[in-house]
Symmetry: C2
Subunit: 229 residues, 2 copies
């Protein structure tokens, strides 16, 4: 990176999963020479999942540009990809960015913006197949890189993803020092973080929760794909 | 848990490390039958590390009580433990809680409140020894349990910690379904999350950053310990 600050633009929106964004933000904001900007469609206060609200976000339309565009996901992602104003801003900002990045269903935003055609990308395991609607190739890895497109899997994959980004921007030694600072030597008490690892009764809890909501998620994703033309 | 909602009180304060709190919040807020309250000394907006600000927090003094008290950490924790008003509220709320919990240097708050005398507790690796100032026994594990006191290590240990809490409150199967929902099957790109794992050049970056700030951290912790008796 040169003398000028490298701008990471983090795009948040109502209803998104806050951890998709807060975990990478911790790492991004500690990379020397990086300036992070948190922006949202309306600016100001943004309420996310779990009732948590962020204050003082910038207004997306007022951001001139960025070097790295980062979009997190959430239950409302499929709503946002049908919002022409929002998607226009994403396309405008992506056009000037060196890196396009996402965590969780954030990759559906990159996809619906037409940025993933023929590209490999990650997403939350339960949404991954929707990427095909946008011409993308779903990757099951926790962090998927295709050229300057770097995408992470579901929610907590954002930590692994952001460390990969930190190494890209500032080198592996610096990235490792950030890992040490946040004591990221994970030791999950259980081993059920992926469908292939989870017990049948654990899968049933998730499936029961998802069966009422996933049809509408697919419907909205298809509608967004229909707008791509 | 009975029919009445189980209240988890998450205490945040200016300058704290937002990920200490946002990762557990994601898990806590998804436990059935749990109500999470985010409170701060002054209420309203709270600015944390990395420039992130949370809106609409409750005022600590106005919280009647809770079933589980949770305190995250940060660079400003040692300032907070010298704030009599804040520590008075912590003692009051702890007195009525069934569980006392923390992540990262949040355990220094429990310690300075006199709640960890003779108890084992975790903390961020670089602050862990400060726990002895408050009569606590530092534990190097990622999650340490001593009776109804459950504490997590530095920053990202909050995920492992919160899954342990979820299992305690709602059972292992439910906790595992939350782990699956946030796709927590960690795959760090590097293995430098603890001092014993990190390369010498990685340790040097951290040590250089810490050598200017840790003396003042110790001084404030000692001052707080002096106020205990």
């Amino acid at each position: 990176m040169g003398k000028q600050q490298f701008v990471i633009l983090e795009v948040i929106y109502p209803g998104m999963t806050q951890l998709d964004f807060t975990a990478p933000h911790t790492i991004f904001s500690r990379i020397p020479g990086v300036r992070t900007i948190v922006a949202s469609p309306a600016g100001g206060e943004v309420e996310c999942d779990g009732g948590l609200a962020f204050a003082g976000t910038a207004k997306l339309a007022e951001i001139e540009g960025c070097d790295l565009l980062f979009v997190p996901g959430g239950w409302t992602t499929v709503t946002m990809i049908n919002d022409d104003g929002f998607m226009g801003e994403i396309r405008r900002l992506a056009a000037g960015a060196t890196y396009l990045t996402s965590v969780c269903t954030g990759s559906l935003i990159l996809g619906a913006a037409g940025l993933l055609v023929g590209k490999q990308a990650a997403s939350h395991w339960a949404w991954r197949e929707m990427l095909r609607l946008f011409g993308a190739i779903p990757g099951a890895e926790r962090v998927v890189r295709d050229g300057n497109i770097i995408t992470g899997g579901g929610v907590t994959a954002g930590i692994d993803f952001a460390l990969v980004v930190a190494a890209e921007l500032a080198g592996e030694t610096l990235a490792q020092s950030l890992q040490l600072g946040i004591e990221y030597a994970p030791a999950p008490p259980f081993d059920s973080g992926r469908p292939d690892l989870a017990a049948p009764e654990v899968m049933r809890i998730i499936e029961k929760r998802f069966e009422t909501v996933m049809p509408a998620q697919w419907e909205q994703a298809r509608a967004a794909a229909g707008r791509m033309s």
